[in-house]
């Protein structure tokens, strides 16, 4: 055995150390000398803005501006360190090349130069990391919608398995979850005695949950011999997972976006009540005292986008309506964000190649026969399928690998975007 080929330590380190992961590709393609001038210009602009804002708010306090300052501070400090190092570097170089300096000093400078150079590498990385824009929903709690796709009853069974997996994962991480919606379809129940799942929405009430689960959105494919199969054939079916940001319902629990954003017509989170049609079940016959109905179902339709939300879980129509509105807001916010990202990607396609991620693409395969889980984006395969399905540490590994991949992609697109902005005539010059 032991047929493993030799791997250089640097590769192992970059792939295994979580702190550095996001930077692999950058570190291998760009060194400190070739730090993209466009990114540098951008960082400098941001630093200037930071200083200006700090000066402005020296006297007064504005929550919005201080938030912006907080965002800029990271870039500013990273830039400052980088620039200090850069000047140190050029000084040292000047010392070495200066013919008047004596031999001893030159040796010392040469020693320093190597250490400064290595530092430069990390500082450049820090700078790029700080420049990578944070996803706007990153800090929010999230809603996970799980729906069976192709594959009939088996897909529904696997959807319940996935639901169980995410619940276990959240329980292990200590996230509070609640079932926002749980719809079952008719049909034979599986071996657990539960009817097949038609749609489930899991609310993860931990801030930052969106950032955690963002990479889970997409089609999850399963290959296994279903419990309902009598001839022992392997089936392939799919379950789609949708991750939506959970917007705060009222001011008190919204740290990120306030009520103002929900009421501002230009904001992504705004939904005009005039665009939404509310349908409730109307009883036949006289209604009123003649009947005592328990029907509390609510359906909201956002007319411009034709987004439909059904809610019937609670006995109280009031609660169903509140939940349906929450879900509708989340769906629309996500859709608007997606549309914007799509636009940017379209502009950039020539530069960074076709993006592989999308809701319609399969992102992961769970192969029961080989006890293997493969993520198609990061390319990671893990062999401990049972642990993954129990939401164990193996699932962490998979999710982290995708996050690394996402980070790299974002950085690439950031580079591409900046270079495109500085050379609009030659978009393919970069890399």
């Amino acid at each position: 055995m032991s047929g493993a080929p030799w791997i250089c330590r640097r590769c192992i380190n970059t792939y295994l150390r979580p702190g550095r992961r996001r930077l692999i590709r950058f570190a291998s393609t760009a060194s400190h000398e070739s730090f993209s001038p466009v990114l540098l210009a951008r960082a400098r602009n941001m630093a200037v803005e930071h200083d200006r804002l700090v000066e402005e708010t020296a006297e007064t306090f504005d929550a919005k501006i201080s938030k912006r300052i907080g965002e800029l501070r990271k870039v500013t400090t990273a830039l400052k360190e980088w620039e200090e190092n850069q000047s140190a570097l050029s000084e040292l170089q000047a010392l070495i090349t200066d013919p008047t300096s004596d031999e001893e000093l030159r040796e010392l400078a040469a020693d320093d130069l190597t250490s400064t150079r290595t530092q430069m590498g990390t500082l450049s990385q820090n700078l790029v990391t700080s420049l990578t824009p944070k996803h706007p929903f990153e800090d929010m709690p999230c809603l996970m919608e799980i729906r069976p796709g192709a594959g009939g009853g088996e897909a529904a069974l696997f959807a319940s398995d996935l639901l169980r997996m995410y619940r276990a994962f959240c329980a292990r991480r200590g996230y509070r979850v609640s079932m926002m919606k749980y719809d079952v379809a008719d049909g034979d129940s599986g071996d657990t005695g539960e009817p097949p799942l038609a749609e489930a929405i899991l609310e993860v009430e931990a801030s930052g949950a969106y950032g955690e689960f963002r990479s889970e959105a997409g089609v999850h494919r399963v290959q296994r011999v279903p419990a309902t199969e009598s001839k022992g054939r392997t089936h392939t079916s799919a379950v789609s997972v949708l991750v939506l940001p959970s917007l705060p319902v009222n001011e008190s629990d919204g740290q990120d976006i306030g009520q103002a954003d929900l009421n501002d017509p230009n904001s992504d989170y705004y939904v005009s009540p005039a665009d939404v049609r509310t349908d409730v079940m109307r009883s036949r016959g006289a209604g009123g005292q003649h009947v005592n109905t328990t029907d509390s179902a609510i359906r909201l339709t956002h007319i411009p986008t034709n987004t439909v939300v059904n809610m019937q879980d609670s006995r109280s129509q009031h609660q169903n309506r509140a939940k349906a509105w929450q879900l509708l807001r989340s769906k629309l916010a996500q859709a608007r964000r997606d549309a914007r990202e799509e636009e940017v990607t379209k502009l950039r396609r020539g530069v960074i190649g076709i993006a592989k991620m999308g809701r319609e693409n399969k992102i992961r395969t769970y192969n029961y026969g080989q006890q293997r889980v493969t993520d198609h984006r990061s390319g990671l395969s893990v062999r401990n399928l049972d642990d993954v399905m129990e939401g164990g540490f193996e699932l962490d590994k998979v999710i982290d690998s995708v996050k690394t991949w996402l980070g790299e992609r974002e950085m690439q697109s950031l580079l591409a975007e900046e270079e495109e902005a500085s050379h609009p005539s030659k978009p393919n010059k970069s890399k």
Binding site: V184, D186, G187, D188, S189, P195, T278, V280, R282, G285, A286, G287, G288, Q289, H290, V291, N292, T293, T294, D295, S296, Q312, D313, S314, R315, S316, Q317, H318, Q319
Partner: protein, 366 residues
Amino acid sequence: MPRLPHTLLLRAYRISPLLPLILQGTRTLRSAINELRWIREHVEERTPAGLPESVVRRTLLKCCQRRSRGEPLQYILGTQPFGELDILCRPGVLIPRPTEAYTSYLAKILLEKRKVRMQALRASCSAQVKPYPSLRIVDLCTGTGCILLLLQSLLSSEFEDLHLTGWDVSNGAISLARKNLQRVETNQLIKILSRTTHSRISFRSLDVFANLTSQESEDLRCDVLISNPPYISEDHFNHETARSVRNWEPKLALVPTVSTSGSFAPEDIFYHRLLFLHFNVCASKVLLMEVGDEEQAFRVTRMTLEKIQQLSDRSRTITTEIWRDWPEAEPPENEDHEFYCKGQAIPLKGSGKLRAVFVFENGALL
């Protein structure tokens, strides 16, 4: 009642063996699935931890059997949501219907009126802030007290001084309403403590048709009179009410049993009395009455207009409206917007079936 098809029962049985039982009560699969889930949640919540699984199963089966005999789910679970509140229900008292729409619409109107008045008050004497006058609301035939409790929870944030009184002829209803009040107050304890305003709410027993004592007439004086009286005719009760309503809910709360001598239908007797109380006893400015169906809404409107014509004081301008099930909703195109009666156009507000008659005095300050 049509027989349930075997295919439906079989489909229900495949989902859960308990479903066919519930299906006998609900008649539709979708609501049966929902009700089974609610019953299961209720049973699991109530059973103390540590009891064997078989106890839970037995309780669940018992509940489902009760439902299969048509007993309303609300009596089995003991509660019914009404707006943001959870109202206790008990056999012998009418279950709150999902008619919170008109209650919250009334609250909205009252809040708007109060806002206008506050602005007027501020403009007139900006130097000294007058204490705002109190608002008195009387609910006749209050039942579980749901309408009054919801009004209180919607209004108490804006109104400094609220006096709410609910009256009912049935002692069972009064004691249940008091229990509900207690329960709502416990649930909202934090909200109440953090509030500086105070509202007083009480439930008392009264036969609307008895001769009122002078004390009672005094207590009935109010700004807003609201009522959901019994309004089903004997014939409709026998033929058009749902089985669970007919067999399980109190007939006293559904069918007026007072002998009539007037020129109106026996099921309208309460409206006759309410109009009398509104104009002659309560001195109220707003009257809201729930009605059963379209014909009744028109009859009550006609009755109201006649009553207004008889008034001695011609300077009062009183407007009458009919509200549909969802008075705030956008009216669909296939529904009428107006109804002509005695040469007046009565607006039909919102969408749904005609549900309430609303009478108010223009320019009345609240």
